[in-house]
């Protein structure tokens, strides 16, 4: 018998209580970013939205998100009109904080709805697995840290993504899935990373006959085309008619940033930088030439762009090439076998590829992998083995987002609670795989997990005790991101194997 307790709604009540208690917690500049967007969209005509630059936090999300802020601003007026003044930089009266935090909680209902749809879409015998996966997503420490402390609207956006994935499950709702994803792209363009998987899947399963590639479904193509083009026309049409598309492009895709983000997202480039640093002492012995300029860089990766002392420089073209290549591989399989599970796997692998090889990747983007992966992590034990290091590494890599003392217990205890609870429950319920498990992969993930705790302790406490707060400040960050990168890469390799052998 499948016991669906505690229900999603019950968890939502308790989680909401906790999130309300977090109102006075630390908030990052993203809070001010969103306040500024409320002000811009509320007090300026649409033509000026993407030109306004009183604040350094200019509007750099696509038009639908701007419209979303515009809708919110109408409610904001009743909370505190002063937050809607563009010149009120860094304004954070308690009404503003309560209002903005509350909107995050309320819009997260989209996620709750999508997850309940997900549970409903699963067959009776697997319902409890879907239920557990939904709870793990709803209570995810990633969403708690990024949305409810750091401040963003990911719960809402990922809710839409999951809704779109769930709609892709049935042939009859494939069109709506495409529409939902198009809307999502117009809300936040980071989801472009996943767009190829959608493109291939919709083309193969909706526009062509699932049984034969050579029988195009013309009516479906027209429906999908009209809908998607229509959505983009609604979003970008007005700006195109005012001739602002180039300005939008500059705002949405600021390519002047460096390879690694300030905090080193745990990806391949973090490992690359780590290897570079590690090679410096041996450079002379190995007869390698050292780039003096990079050595002199005191921050060593803390700020903006990293430059490498020994290893060759990485260009944007390299990152694009690698991302595209590793997105392409899973898509070939999706083309051959266009079923839902392969589709979710392909989305996950697209997320992996862009996170691991992308240019200027933010550590928050790890949710792009974790959330779609959670939907299929309980398919069988092989999936779960690949998921485990990702769950640990992905969430631990978010810790540097919150660096204040007051939030330290929350991020660590909440993440530990989530990891212990859900990894245990997943381990209990994940069905046995039909195929052989890879012995090495299991040992790797166990070894990996045991390293997490001493490393976290070192980075958060011991390092400061040994070196003080200022010296070698980059070391804990570099250790953490290299360690997390190892986990993400390991789980990527593991999942690739599972995906291609399934």
């Amino acid at each position: 018998m499948a016991d669906l307790y505690p229900s999603l709604a019950q968890c939502a009540v308790v989680a909401t209580a906790f999130k309300i208690l977090l109102f006075p917690a630390y908030k990052s500049t993203d809070f001010e970013v969103h306040r500024n967007w409320l002000a811009i969209t509320h007090s300026l005509p649409v033509q000026e939205w993407y030109y306004e630059k009183t604040s350094e936090w200019t509007l750099d999300y696509p038009p639908f998100f701007a419209a979303f802020e515009w809708v919110l601003s109408h409610a904001a007026r009743y909370a505190d009109p002063a937050m809607l003044v563009v010149n009120n930089l860094s304004y954070d009266s308690w009404q503003t904080v309560y209002f903005q935090r509350a909107t995050v909680i309320v819009t997260e209902l989209v996620l709750l709805f999508a997850l309940s749809r997900f549970v409903k879409s699963v067959s009776q015998s697997n319902k409890h697995l879907a239920h557990i996966a939904s709870l793990s997503i709803f209570l995810s420490p990633g969403l708690l840290i990024i949305d409810h402390i750091h401040f963003q609207y990911n719960g809402f956006l990922y809710g839409l993504l999951i809704l779109s994935i769930v709609l892709a499950r049935k042939q009859s709702t494939l069109l709506y899935s495409g529409i939902a994803f198009a809307v999502l792209l117009c809300l936040k363009h980071i989801y472009l990373y996943l767009a190829l998987a959608y493109f291939v899947y919709l083309l193969r399963a909706y526009c062509l006959d699932p049984k034969s590639v050579f029988r195009p479904q013309f009516f479906n193509i027209i429906k999908l085309g009209v809908c998607v083009v229509g959505i983009f026309a609604v979003a970008f049409g007005p700006f195109a008619s005012w001739g602002q598309l180039l300005q939008l492009k500059d705002r949405l895709f600021p390519f002047s940033r460096g390879l690694c983000h300030a905090y080193w997202a745990p990806n391949v480039w973090a490992m690359y930088s780590f290897a570079d640093r590690a090679l410096i002492p041996f450079a002379a012995r190995l007869g390698l030439s050292v780039n003096r300029e990079a050595l002199a860089s005191v921050t060593r990766g803390l700020v903006g762009d990293t430059s490498f002392a020994i290893l060759p420089e990485v260009t944007k073209e390299h990152t694009f090439g690698l991302t595209f290549l590793f997105q392409l591989l899973p898509l070939i399989k999706l083309w051959i076998r266009p079923d839902w599970e392969t589709f979710v796997g392909a989305i996950t692998l697209c997320g992996y590829a862009s996170f691991l090889f992308g240019w200027h990747v933010h550590e928050k983007a790890v949710l792009l992998i974790i959330i779609p992966f959670s939907l299929i992590a309980l398919k069988d034990r092989r999936y779960f083995s690949a998921f485990r290091p990702l769950a640990v590494a992905g969430h631990v890599s978010l810790f540097p987002l919150l660096f204040t003392a007051g939030e330290f217990p929350i991020k660590t205890v909440y993440t530990t609670l989530w990891l212990v609870l859900f990894l245990y429950v997943f381990d209990q319920v994940a069905p046995v795989s039909e195929q052989r498990r890879v012995f090495v992969a299991d040992r790797f993930s166990l070894l990996y997990l045991t390293f997490a705790i001493p490393l976290i302790v070192y980075c958060s406490v011991v390092h400061q005790l040994i070196f003080g707060l200022e010296r070698y400040e980059f070391l804990p960050l570099m250790f953490m991101s290299s360690y997390s990168a190892l986990g993400v890469v390991g789980s990527w390799v593991g999942f690739m194997v599972v995906y291609f052998t399934a």
């Binding site: 016991d3 307790y5 505690p6 229900s7 019950q10 009540v13 308790v14 209580a17 906790f18 309300i20 208690l21 977090l22 109102f23 006075p24 917690a25 003392a405 007051g406 217990p409 929350i410 205890v413 909440y414 530990t416 609670l417 212990v420 609870l421 245990y424 429950v425």
Partner: protein
Amino acid sequence: MAPPPSSYRPRKKRKFPSSFTGSNNSLIVETGGKASPAFPLVSFLWSARAGVSQWLVLPLILMAVGLFRWAVSLWGYSGFQVPPMHGDFEAQRHWMEITIHLPVSKWYLYDLQYWGLDYPPLTAYHSWLLGKLGSLFDPAWFALDASRGFEDPLLKVFMRGTVIASEYLIYIPAVVNFLRRYTRTQNVPVWSASIALVAILLQPATILIDHGHFQYNTVMLGLMVASLDAILAGRMLWACIFFVGALGFKQMALYYAPTMFAFLLGVCIFPKIRIVRLLCIALITSVAFAVLFVPLIVGVVGVDARETLAAAPQPPLLQLLPVEPDKQSVLYAVIFQLAQTIHRVFPFARGLFEDKVANAWCAIHTFYKLHRFEASLLQRMSLGATLASILTPCAIIFRHPRASLLLPALSSVAWGFFLFSFQVHEKSVLLPLLPMTLLLAGDGGLGKEVRAWVGWANILGSWTMYPLLARDELRVPYFVMTLLWAYLLGLPPTSLEIFRGRASLEDTTPGAELHVLTKLLHACFYLAMIAWHVLEAFVAAPPGKPDLWVVLNALIGAGGFGIAYLWCVSKLIQQCRRIDQKVVEEAEKKNQ
């Protein structure tokens, strides 16, 4: 030794495998052959029903309740940005400051006008320890005099951390151990015990006062629970030591003292007189008190300290002494120190009640001004009323010194103190609430009757502290924590489950359904609380009576607490009767 007493329970149809016996039955509702949880908290622990190790469940529970504590502590605290005196936070910080910088002889004498130390010695030692620890981080937090009113965010994190650390080192181990032992004697399954543990650890009033308002009540409460645990384990001497610890941390533990005294005395007399035990208990208690004061006394033996004390004004207790010892002698210093400590800890000179407290005196004062009487008469009246209210429970626990009766006895005596004694503070409501809430872990404790009463008293308790919490900017945590607790336990105002009768009529266990009068009474109180919140939020008090809403709150609270007192006493009498009945039945069985 005789098997541990367990309360009487009529035979009934077994619906579940043997692992679901005991009070589990009230946790699972069966409708149409499908089992479902009776209230939300049960469903959160639903998967832990069987086959999940306590080594997993317990850490998860402790992490979850810890998160809520820390989240509450992000909010305001007593006296934040209210110069010149600030509030309890500043008082505790100030004690850390004076204990680490001043010699012991000055602890109870230094600048008494600015938060002079007025808690017993254990609090002083605790403050010293925390002050030393905190100075490792930043000595500026506790610089003598210079740090007054210091409000650095990091200091707040440190202070909040000390509250959590103290709680996790004392209160939580004590509660966990107590529950383990108590549920075992009551034949309550481990699963129900885990549910009760969550309910007890999420008690809103305690969290709001300790982690919101800022105090270290859980240390005292934890020592008290440790003492109860020792009693259950049959280690009476450890019980004495822990109880002296509780008293030595906070004098409020006196609310429990009559029960403990009656119980320990009863244990030595019934069923047969055991003089050695009595002597041991007396000796250990005295030694424990002596040890408690040793650091204070050793500190005043030195020449400098003696001079300080000789120059200081004498506490009133010392003036009562018939002989006048030499002011430079060691004896004088020791007596002075003791007298000064007692004088500081028990402020007899203050009024009958402070502020608006939901007790009998404040309620009477509203209608019939008590100022007209002399202070000494009021003191005697208060003493008389308190004694009258605690007489019955004390007599029962003295005549039937059984561990299973301790919880209702402790709570009724504490309610008696809260309602009638002198100088009651609204925060003192935590004391009667603790043993009452622990009843949730007893046999049938999560059934409707006990859950409804305990829940109602807790919600009422945190509601009477609303005016205090509102002053500390803790409105949001107050609503969140209280409603969350009500929600988890399936209580009004979030759910009316407790009022609805269940379809199955076969279950005739007492307490399975609420009495209609109970329903009516609780419904009235819940409605009154909601109406009061609406009034307080939207209607301004009439100009002549600015305190009208606060007084109304205290009045309703006093009425409710009076009823809670009566319920605890009746619970005590009921349980006592059941045990007697059982003893008689067992005797009959033996005779047959």
